[in-house]
């Protein structure tokens, strides 16, 4: 019945690089986690909508990341590929508590 949310503790915020992605592996899934210099934290599926490029290694510009494979520009907040490309990657809600980062994964029952 319905979905439950799996809340995973990732890492200490202070140990993460700023404006550079981090690869997070959880339950066989690869997630790209970004801590931005303005304090925002985003988690995206580490799989570009184009051909599956690893977004964690992409270059960060504001609230966007450029895929390292063919330079698609993906919005971190909504996972949307920017014009002229089309597509969407899954995003995950993130919480920060006491220097710890938590990602909320949907856990299909």
């Amino acid at each position: 019945m319905g979905k439950t949310t799996l809340r995973v503790c990732v890492v200490k915020l202070s140990e993460l690089p700023v404006n550079i992605g981090k690869t997070v592996l959880v339950g066989g899934k690869s997630i790209a986690l970004f801590i931005l210099s303005n304090g925002s934290v985003y988690a995206l599926e580490n799989h570009c909508p184009h051909r599956g490029g690893v977004l964690a290694e992409g270059m960060v510009s504001g609230e966007y990341v450029f895929c390292p494979m063919h330079n698609w520009k993906i919005g971190m907040a909504d996972g949307l590929a920017q014009e002229p490309d089309e597509g969407c990657v899954r995003t995950f809600p993130v919480e920060v508590q006491d220097d710890r980062v938590y990602i909320n994964l949907e856990n299909p029952d």
Binding site: T4, T5, L6, R7, V8, C9, V10, V11, E15, L16, P17, N19, I20, K22, T23, V24, L25, V26, G27, L33, N46, R51, G52, G53, V54, E57, G58, M59, V60, S61, G62, F66, P68, M69, N71, K73, Y102, I103, N107
Partner: protein
């Protein structure tokens, strides 16, 4: 019927120009056979001076390729000389005993250099300068020689002397008149010329007559009529030319100095014609291409039975092809009682102008320093225009572009080929031309001596504005800003900016975060401008340069360790094999760059692998100096002339790890067979007997480009010196992501050569590259030394579940 049988004796500039015109007018009229003593297709003899000076290569001076002959159905016998003409039975015989019948025969046998009948003139090392073979002979013979003498201070003598200077010899020009180029210049101009050439390092002995050439088997010096003697290991004789008319004379065709022709280039024997330097028209034998091409056009029309007024003689003009010196002369430059002159002399700028006027008409001109009025003056002189036409044409200080703009459509732009401004503009408009090369191909303008190239460029600019290739308005770096590369770099220097964010902030980037295009570029420019104060911006690096490995499709990476010059050993191979086993590397591959690639490595294993390998980074992932490929070279190969492996290793060690606008690949071959594809490298070094040739701007990638010869040097240290200067000049002036091939194409190889020809400039560039090199550390070792970076950039997070909700 397959047309009349036309035979051409002499596969040179005038003869082939005539055939081109024939084919243009009436392609099917003739069945053409060409005999040429030289084993090459028709080439631009004029440019031999530039070949000797190292500004162009023999490959690049071909005017009509082998396929041109083929596609026009011309039977060519290269390396075959016509030795006999049977004027009664209408056939020619060659030195290979071939007999070919003709309906019409054109003699275009050119001239041969005059050799002074001096004792010792036959000695080894006494060379004339007329054809490709002579040119190669001079280049080969000059190796390991120190001093040279040129006999003859005319155009050819001075151009060859400049060539010898470039080949590293100490050069003395011996001239029997008290003034250089005395047939084209007056004393003032000649004196200015001498000063300039002395500044370039040439020595002069004027008013000197050579009486003997000394030496045993090879030349070792010259003796003069006043008893003086100088040393010379090589002597070029450039004292004039004599028309080649022996063949004609032997077969009963009337000759004087040259083969006698009328206004239709007919000799006095029916069906036989003569054009070019071998012909004598109204007592004149010409020695420059412009008049010869006019003759060729008249003859072509005449043979095709088209209307022509005939050839009526030409006004000749001459320019000296020595870079850094502008000298021009045209028409009649002797003064009689009737002559009036217009003169100006600027001792500060070293410019001089003298115009010769008789009966109110312009008869001749000499220009020194500023020569862009030359072409126009030649036109006015040949029209015998009233002096007012010249004086009213505008200020004498006007720029070349302004001058081109005010010229009328019937004025000549390309003197050699007689192409007018109107013809060029029409071709540009009708055929949509956008580059000088296209104009050259369509109209012949700038195809011969090349001095009108800049005027053709001006016309392109005038006619099509921004669409012209080399005047294209510079684009901004990317859409985040309106500023161009040059503006940004200038501001970085001026304001002393030090990091990417600061640049974007101070220079008011529209997109304040920048993008994946501008940020890596800015990071590079900052590093280039201030290597010692630079702090790398990791965030602005593409992943490969941030992690010092190549990312692959599936997110794994590849590892290419440094192997200098492509040389390895059993120890390294063993370590590589062990690493491959230990980390279960999915693939080991030999790369196109002569290195070994371990592919499919997980990011977390990168530092561990580097540690186990204990080798330096091969930089296969960066916009930086990459590999130097080498061939086996003199220690192994039977053709090897130099230690190419040693040179490759030296180059790689010296420039290892240097960041550049785009990747830079090098190669060193030990002979021109080029087993490492040296001529498609950014810097390609080719060992030749006694020296090295340095090629630059080659590319074997997306847009193939053959490298240009930068220079030839004798010593190995000079290879490093030129390579360093070239690299640094490229680093300082190219746009980010512009390969040397595109950059050389954009700025022009002549420009690069000119900049690098100055020793002081080279030294300064090398000092700056040394400064940049001094900051380089092996990036793999740096990562190994820095646990923090290892953790931040290379480690993944394995997240544990915390709580369910």
């Amino acid at each position: 019927m397959p047309g009349q049988k036309l035979v051409l004796a002499g596969n040179g500039m005038a003869g082939i120009r005539c055939l081109e015109e024939l084919i243009r007018i009436d392609p099917d009229r003739f069945n053409i056979t060409v005999f040429g003593s030289e084993p090459y297709p028709n080439y631009n003899r004029i440019q031999l001076s530039k070949v000797l000076q190292g500004d162009t290569s023999i490959d690049d001076i071909t005017l009509n390729s082998w396929s041109w002959y083929e596609s026009n159905g011309i039977r060519l016998y290269p390396g075959e000389t016509v030795t006999e003409i049977d004027t009664k039975n209408h056939y020619v015989r060659t030195d290979k005993n071939r007999i070919t019948a003709y309906d019409q025969l054109i003699l275009a046998t050119g001239s041969h250099p005059f050799v002074l009948p001096l004792p010792g003139a036959e000695k080894k090392g006494v060379i004339t300068f007329r054809n490709i073979r002579d040119c190669q002979k001079i280049i080969d013979y000059s190796k390991n020689k120190k001093t040279a003498a040129v006999i003859g201070g005319g155009l050819l003598g001075l151009e060859s002397a400049r060539g010898l200077l470039n080949l590293g010899l100490n050069v003395t020009v011996v001239h029997k008149s008290p003034y250089l180029m005395n047939r084209q210049l007056d004393q003032t101009a000649s004196h200015l010329l001498q000063l300039q050439l002395e500044k370039q390092g040439m020595h002069f002995l004027l008013n000197k007559q050579t009486v003997a050439i000394t030496g045993d088997e090879s030349v070792d010096g010259l003796t003069f009529n006043d008893g003086d003697h100088i040393e010379a290991d090589l002597v070029i004789m450039a004292v004039g030319i004599r028309p080649n008319c022996k063949l004609a004379e032997d077969c009963g065709i009337p000759v004087n100095r040259g083969i006698l022709v009328n206004d239709f280039m007919e000799t006095q024997v029916s069906d036989i014609y003569a054009v070019g330097e071998c012909a004598e028209h109204h007592g004149v034998c010409y020695g420059l291409v412009a008049p010869l091409y006019q003759q060729a056009q008249v003859l072509a029309k005449h043979l095709c039975r088209r209307n022509t007024e005939g050839y009526t003689g030409s006004t000749t003009s001459a320019k000296l092809k020595v870079s850094g010196v502008n000298v021009f002369s045209a028409g009649q430059i002797t003064e009689t009682e009737q002559t009036k002159t217009i003169q100006s002399y600027d001792g500060w700028r070293m410019t001089y102008k003298k115009i010769f006027v008789e009966d109110g008409k312009i008869k001749g001109a000499i220009l020194f320093g500023e020569t862009h009025e030359g072409t126009r003056l030649t036109g006015l002189i040949s029209k015998q225009a009233p002096v007012e036409d010249y004086l009213n044409a505008g200020s004498t200080q006007e720029s070349e572009a302004d001058m081109v703009a005010t010229m009328s459509d019937d004025e000549i732009i390309c003197g050699c080929n007689g192409v007018t401004k109107g013809t060029i503009i029409q071709a540009i408009k009708e055929k949509g031309l956008t580059s000088v090369a296209q104009v050259r191909a369509c109209t012949n303008a700038s195809r011969s001596c090349g001095t009108c190239r800049s005027m053709v460029a001006d016309l392109l600019k005038m006619t099509i504005g921004d669409k012209f290739d080399s005047t294209k308005k510079e684009e901004p770096i990317c859409t985040c800003t309106t500023m161009t590369r040059d503006e940004v770099v200038a501001d970085i220097r001026k304001m002393g900016l030090t990091n990417v964010r600061e640049v974007m902030h101070v220079l008011d980037w529209k997109n304040k975060n920048g993008c994946s295009k501008c940020r890596p570029a800015l990071n590079y420019y900052l590093n280039m401008v201030n290597p010692t104060g630079f702090k790398d911006d990791q965030e602005s690096r593409f992943v490969n340069e941030r992690l010092h490995a190549n990312i692959q499709m599936n997110g794994t990476f590849s590892v290419v360790p440094r192997m200098y010059g492509g040389v390895t050993n059993a120890d390294e191979l063993r370590k590589i094999a062990d690493v491959a086993d230990k980390y279960q590397v999915p693939m080991i591959k030999l790369t196109g760059g002569q290195r070994i690639d371990l592919l499919g490595v997980d990011k977390e294993n990168l530092p561990k692998i580097w540690k186990d390998l204990n080798m330096r980074s091969g930089f296969a992932y960066a916009k930086s100096v990459r590999t130097v490929k080498t061939c086996v070279g003199e220690n192994f190969c039977r053709f090897g002339t130099q230690d190419s492996i040693g040179m490759g290793i030296k180059l790689e060690k010296r420039f290892e790890g240097l960041y550049t606008p785009h990747k830079v690949k090098m190669g060193v071959s030990a002979c021109p067979r080029n087993c490492v594809e040296t001529r498609v490298k950014d810097i390609g070094v080719i060992g030749v007997q006694g020296g090295w040739e340095i090629y630059v701007g080659g590319n074997g990638g997306t847009k193939l480009r053959k490298a240009d010869l930068l220079c030839k040097v004798k010593k190995s240290e000079e290879v490093l010196e030129y390579a360093g200067a070239f690299l640094q000049y490229y680093r300082e002036s190219a746009k980010y992501l512009e390969r040397t091939s595109a950059w050389v194409e954009r700025v022009g190889i002549e420009h690069v050569r000119e900049v690098l020809s100055d020793k002081k400039t080279r030294d300064e560039l090398n000092q700056r590259i040394d400064e940049a090199l001094s900051t380089i550390r092996d990036p793999w070792q740096s990562v190994l030394d820095d646990r923090e970076t290892q953790k931040k950039l290379y480690q993944k997070v394995y997240a544990g579940e915390t709580d369910h909700q």
